[in-house]
Symmetry: C2
Subunit: 333 residues, 2 copies
Amino acid sequence: MNSLTLEQIAELAGVSRSTVSRVVNGHISVRPEVRQRVQQVIAETGYQPHAAARSLAGQRTQVIGLVIPRVIQSLFADPYYSLMIQGITQACNQHDYTLSLFLFHSEAEEAKLFPRVVGARLLDGVVLASAMVGDPFITQLLASPMPCVVVGRPQDEAASYVDVDNVAGGYTAVQHLLNQGRRRIATITGPLNTSAGQDRRQGYGNALRAHGLAVAEEMVQEGDFTEAGGYQAMQRLLPLAPDAVFIASDTMTFGALQALREAGLTVPDAVAIVSFDDLPMAALATPPLTTVRQPIRRLGATAVETLLAILRSGPSPPRQVIMATELVVRGSS
Amino acid sequence: MNSLTLEQIAELAGVSRSTVSRVVNGHISVRPEVRQRVQQVIAETGYQPHAAARSLAGQRTQVIGLVIPRVIQSLFADPYYSLMIQGITQACNQHDYTLSLFLFHSEAEEAKLFPRVVGARLLDGVVLASAMVGDPFITQLLASPMPCVVVGRPQDEAASYVDVDNVAGGYTAVQHLLNQGRRRIATITGPLNTSAGQDRRQGYGNALRAHGLAVAEEMVQEGDFTEAGGYQAMQRLLPLAPDAVFIASDTMTFGALQALREAGLTVPDAVAIVSFDDLPMAALATPPLTTVRQPIRRLGATAVETLLAILRSGPSPPRQVIMATELVVRGSS
DNA sequence: ATGAAAGCGCTAACAT
DNA sequence: ATGTTAGCGCTTTCAT
């Protein structure tokens, strides 16, 4: 079906190579009738341009990378990533870009693959997700000339990024609990070396302080965004007898619910819970979760679109998009 | 850091372009001292070959594709995919291949992207996952000259594939329930247009028949591998008062447990459950799940390795790998 | 063992 | 509006 070249199409259509190239790339300066004829031949033959030849001559690959540095393995299993990837692929498909996936399992892999990611010119740009603050890969990547959009809030404020307003999300969650009359409000945070972990914890503190309450450090337990981590963090919290917990992800909440069940505590009567994400499973939990919804798919799609905008019109000024969250009230609070 | 070309490295090392190329590609016919000198220069300069130029001249891209046709969106959120992707990326990283991800959200996208996947020569080969039986994309793909390994059991027996023994897995699960003295054993199947759905259901039937029991069609409820689907299927099963259920995926089991809780039925006392996958969450459920473990990561890695074997030594004979499952007994049975 | 040279299939600047 | 031409950076015969 296809090892035709531009040259052959040109011959079949009785025009030059350049004209075919112009048609393929949608340039304007081609007479409609000629364009028509060429398109006809292309359709009949099933001609498909050779990607490598195009990249070589044209200096762009139409490929972008999704880079996920050193996720803890169980963390990547969070449906969060699947949803983000769905948004990313959808945007790529729509804009005729191909997505390459770089998932690193160790620092050694990061180091080994870094040159290939930035040096082999096989990527026009990169979406960087779920980076731990201070990961050397990110630092290097942002310092390189490779166009890059971070999903999350990078330390480097000159970087382009797409994020949800995690501080506001955390604030809203805790405010909701306060409004319900809860006062012994604990939190299970995400990893505090991620921006999402930090920011949601910040929102928790802000809300308490806004209501004249102090943050008790023992009421703040760090989790790791996994179900097992949520379970353990909740167990550490139980002796403190909180009447509510803000948990920084739905997945951790599933683990925390388990710990509460084992302790014989009912939700929301004994302990109210608000969590974060609104995964598809959140509505199906027992009880259904009150949770701060973030638009995960759109986050992924927006990251791609932001990257494409940078590819079109240059890296400056950095593009920074903050998306809103929305509190979804269900049975757990 | 890098827009060096082979030519420049050659000059710096005082050799010809060809020699540098030989060193880069590990050919034998280079004097050790020369090789050394060239490698030195490469290391010092951080030279990285240009991927597109290489592909164009060398006829191979060192990129493979992971193609997932038309998943229902919520299905892709199953941690199963994350785990498989982890195995796939790990194998790719190890063998210096890049992975491109093609995730289709509609038949229109499949049709639009098919020519790019097989025609643009940007892929050396393809791993095809989670295909529905009879999906036109698969038919076309297997008919094309693109080297391909299916994860699952394709209809076309001439295709190369990697799968777990789903029939045996289902059999073992149900046999376990029979051994516990259960007799009213129902099943919630996967989608019956997938090979995994079909085969696990087959194993269920085989086990019943082996014990002299007949399959009652109303005890077989089709699910869709999602939690919501499991919930609904279990609700349909409740009026039939099964004393055990074999559920074809852990994710569906989470939904089914919810339905049982709402009905006030205890697991395993009133209803015993065996499911399939052994996701990380399975051990944390209430109760912990008895489940048929399948080596999801290794499945992904093996698919890649099988594909690379085909790339090395041709498509025939088709390579077909069947991996074993293992029953993990926990609290739900 | 090494170098010279001919492409791989395309884009884009230039010429017409 | 269209054709001509010079690369893009590499691999791979073919000489030597």
